[in-house]
């Protein structure tokens, strides 16, 4: 049933999931609560489909897994001196958060296509990426707010700060919508079949 191509895809996916795993372990050990939460959410999104399909060979494509790990790596390295020296004015923390939430929006849309009966055309898929990104960021900020109250911390800083992070997330989500479009365009038919992007009646226009 499994072709060699499928085996290779799955193995690449498992290997790249290790990056995500160790990045999460790092944030957990550093007691970096918010990013540990993100890492655990990302790992769950990686593992849940595998569990619900009962098929470890239907894992996410490896580049998706690396993409999930990328904002965490950005965040981790933003603490390093070299990064701060060179890009201090770039608001790396804001960018990393926006990037991570947009990644989740992207991931959710891809997962809906890979693992469920949901069918969508391209414009709708792009719309979903943006909407999921913004929706998740809303839930995320509410979560942070509750965390602030419970732990008596001040992660959200101010109303202006939260609003600006929403603006960044919106920009990130819109960009990610285009990335989604390009991603599906760039992926070959053969690879789509291997990965289980099965139902593909993308209306040819």
């Amino acid at each position: 049933m499994r072709t060699p191509e499928q085996m290779i895809e799955a193995e690449l996916s498992w290997i790249s999931s290790m990056v995500l795993f160790f990045a999460t372990v790092y944030t957990v050990l550093k007691l970096d609560v918010l990013w540990a939460a993100f890492g655990i959410a990302a790992i769950s999104l990686y593992v849940l489909p595998i569990i619900s399909m009962r098929n470890p060979f239907r894992a996410l494509p490896w580049e998706m897994t690396l993409l999930l790990a990328a904002p965490m790596l950005l965040h981790i390295s933003s603490g390093s001196g070299a990064m701060l020296d060179h890009f201090e004015s770039w608001h790396i923390a804001d960018l990393a958060l926006a990037f991570s939430l947009a990644t989740i929006g992207f991931l959710l849309t891809v997962e809906l296509r890979m693992y469920t009966d949901v069918r969508m055309n391209r414009p709708f898929g792009m719309f979903f990426v943006v909407m999921f990104t913004v929706g998740i960021s809303g839930l995320w900020q509410v979560g942070e707010y509750i965390g602030d109250i419970v732990n008596d911390t001040n992660n959200l800083v101010s109303n202006r700060h939260v609003m600006m992070s929403f603006v960044w997330v919106l920009i990130g989500g819109a960009l990610m919508g285009f990335v989604y479009d390009l991603y599906l365009k760039a992926m070959s038919e053969k690879r789509k079949r291997i990965l289980g992007f099965i139902h593909l009646p993308e209306v040819p226009k």
Binding site: R119, F124, S137, N159, M163, F166
Partner: protein, 214 residues
């Protein structure tokens, strides 16, 4: 039940008219425009039904009128200042309304766009995300308005975050009700009851006539 809801909707519209008149008579003009706009919006479903034959479910109709009513009457009577949490109540009303309209939209899209198929459990997920996203857009709009026109729509961090929290809750409630509703009434039946087909025919007819006359 349906008749009663209809009657209640009419009563609330009447009160909105009364608010507008009372505002003009007493010279208390702050809430008059809001009352008039709310009244116009509350008639949109009827206009849709008359001109396009699109019929929204009576419960949704009632919900629209109720949300507008609470906003106008609360504003006119000063409930926004005197009753704690009133703004969160009206905010939750309007966000649940947006969620419900999103739900109607998605069910229609699911039926009419061939390349899109959205199974039931997904609808619940969609409603929660859509409501939340619209909530964020709303807050961003208020923020932009505050920054550019120096108004004061956002009271502060706590207020904004509680608004968003209520958006989330409203999304979950609408998701539960929406999916329940589709269990009772099948999606096909639901779309049929909206008479979207007839509306489509009417629009096509209209466009045809315009083309012919040119």
């Amino acid at each position: 039940m349906k008749e009663r809801l209809k009657l209640l909707s009419r009563a609330m519209q009447a009160v909105t008219v009364a608010v507008a008149i009372a505002g003009i008579v007493t010279g208390n003009l702050t809430w008059v425009p809001a009352a008039i706009i709310a009244l116009l919006i509350s008639f949109i479903p009827s206009i849709l039904r008359r001109d396009l034959k699109i019929t929204l479910p009576i419960e949704l109709n009632f919900w629209i009128v109720l949300a507008l009513f609470l906003h106008v009457v609360g504003g006119f009577s000063g409930f926004y200042d005197s009753i704690p949490g009133w703004d969160h109540l009206t905010h939750m009303m309007s966000s649940s309304l947006i969620g419900a309209l999103g739900f109607v939209m998605v069910v229609i899209v699911d039926k009419y766009v061939k390349s899109i198929y959205l199974p039931r459990p997904f609808l619940a997920f969609f409603i929660v995300m859509f409501t939340m996203a619209m909530g964020v857009f709303w807050e961003l709009m208020e923020f932009a308005n505050d920054s550019l026109a120096h108004t004061q729509l956002q009271y502060g961090l706590d207020d904004t975050m509680v608004d968003l929290l209520f958006d989330g809750i409203a999304g979950f409630i609408v998701a539960i009700f929406g999916v329940q509703y589709l269990l009772r009434v099948s999606a096909d039946h639901f779309v049929d009851s909206l008479h979207v087909d007839e509306a489509k025919d009417k629009v096509v007819d209209y466009l045809q006539k315009r083309r012919d006359s040119v």
